[in-house]
Symmetry: C2
Subunit: 309 residues, 2 copies
């Protein structure tokens, strides 16, 4: 695999955004599933076809109850740890001050460092991305009861491309539910098929955008007409389901979530696997890079490979 590690996409901007005065819709230039069907796969053919078509897939019964208990108690420990709350990796709610996200989980916690390298997860990421992978970003998302705020529709790739310099669509996310996700407590919503089109957003990236975009995104926001068209074609699917469910989704799948006034909090772990050839270059539409804990750049380490041996 030595040769794979040296390959890297060039810096041509295949997905320009935040550059034009009007929204532009660009067809996806990259595969969704990079491995061949004949390769040994950690998913069924039906699952792979569903992922390719919709841009996401739900996986249940991956973890044992013991593993889930360990993740949940580690989540609680971290949220209550005042030394972690004070770190820049912790993002708090604009109004209530409660912890909303903790970034770079895999460097702050041994439990989550081990989870990020779990062969069951790495094998899926390697298969779909067709090469060795590394963690581009990881975080804990906590949507508290009563005051959980919405996350407006977005493609993660749009931000990773413009602000972090991720060249191509060769990354995926795994969101692991640490609470039951119900229709009422602001679950993730995804637009099936939206990953096959890139919505080029309007408006230049302001300086230090990440400091407020993690609370409320105002740039890199897709236009209503494009969203309406995508929903008309694909509908909306909601990631409601049991504790422990993995929502696996492509980097360009349009997603978002409503707020949460119910007493039920909602939390999940979030790992972004990126192909090693797709490691970040200079940002495509920003004058500065984001911090290492939001976007790995200097600390890139390929995960122990499962498939590519």
């Amino acid at each position: 695999m030595a040769e794979l590690q040296t390959l890297q996409y060039d810096t041509e901007d295949m997905y320009p955004s935040r550059l034009y005065a009007k929204p532009v819709s660009i067809p996806r230039q990259d595969p969704v599933v990079y491995s061949k069907a004949t390769d040994h796969a950690p998913l069924t053919a039906a699952q792979i076809a569903e992922y390719e078509k919709k841009g996401f897939l739900f996986l249940d019964d991956i973890f044992t109850q013991y593993e889930l208990d360990e993740m949940i108690s580690e989540m609680h420990r971290m949220r209550e740890d005042s030394s972690i709350k004070q770190r820049e990796e912790s993002i708090t709610e604009q109004e209530s001050g409660a912890v909303r996200s903790i970034f770079s989980l895999h460097t702050l916690s041994d439990v989550f460092a081990k989870l990020a390298q779990d062969p069951r997860l790495v094998a899926i990421a390697e298969y779909l991305l067709g090469e060795r992978v590394y963690i581009h970003q990881s975080r804990l998302n906590y949507k508290p009861g009563f005051s959980g705020k919405e996350f407006y529709w977005h493609s993660d790739f749009e931000t990773w491309h413009t602000e972090d310099g991720m060249p191509r669509m060769r990354a995926l996310s795994m969101s692991i539910a640490l609470t039951k996700n119900e229709s009422q407590n602001g679950p993730l919503m995804l637009i099936p098929g939206s990953h096959k089109r890139y919505v080029s957003c309007v408006g230049a990236t302001p300086k230090n955008h990440y400091l407020f975009s993690l609370k409320k995104q105002e740039f890199g926001v897709p236009d209503e007409q494009s969203l309406t068209q995508m929903v008309r074609e694909g509908g909306i699917e909601t990631a409601t389901g049991p504790l422990g469910r993995i929502t696996l989704f492509d980097c360009n799948t349009m997603h978002g979530s409503n707020g949460n006034i119910t007493p039920y909090p909602r939390s999940n772990l979030f790992f972004v696997f990126n192909g090693l050839s797709n490691r970040v270059v200079e940002p495509f539409s920003s004058t500065e890079t984001r911090p290492e804990y939001i976007s790995a750049r200097d600390s890139i380490k390929p995960l122990e490979t499962v498939i590519f041996n």
Copy 2:
């Protein structure tokens, strides 16, 4: 029925709120269903029992498609009518400026004036409240797509009592869905059984509270502990359902809704029927009354009776 029209509750404050430094839970002092089971009823015994127990009831197939079409086109006409948009009865979204509510529908529109007096609706209100009724408030609620804001949990009665001077729990609301209400577009959520307890809220009513409370409520807000307890006991039910569904609910049933980032708008008509003996007196915890279009006071007219003849 002449004697009923002259009866009126006295001005003792049975449900103090916004007076204490801590939240207080007060048991309901009033019946939920005022008529006797032996009276001729426009609902089945099972429906009445469900309403008594949960504090709400869903009614489908009341209106014909023709009637619904007429309501929808009247809604669109009113929302686009610039003379109505400029009236004080129109409430706009804090951020987007879009029309969120139009109050006093039954005085601004012949179509909705007729609907407010519809014998099918009046008969249900008269039966449950056990006397002649009038419209305390009516409005059109429009939750736009993409930017629909949440309505936090509240008991309508808490506001009608403290700010309008409604003496007792002898009022009910009918919400008529003019769009399909889905789990994703911010549907009404209700807490079954919450109508049997009154949560006395903390914080005095500020002057001209109604001018901003209709956009974002900051007083008369129930505490999280009381809400958690109510949800633990009764759960949460969501008023998802077909266009034309009536959600009938007691004035003290705790309800609210999450925001709506989907492209699907959500709209409904809202009529509050109050028992004639329960007409408003001086506000119980406010130094001023709210305008006539929010709370009928001088313009009270009993609706043509269906049952009490």
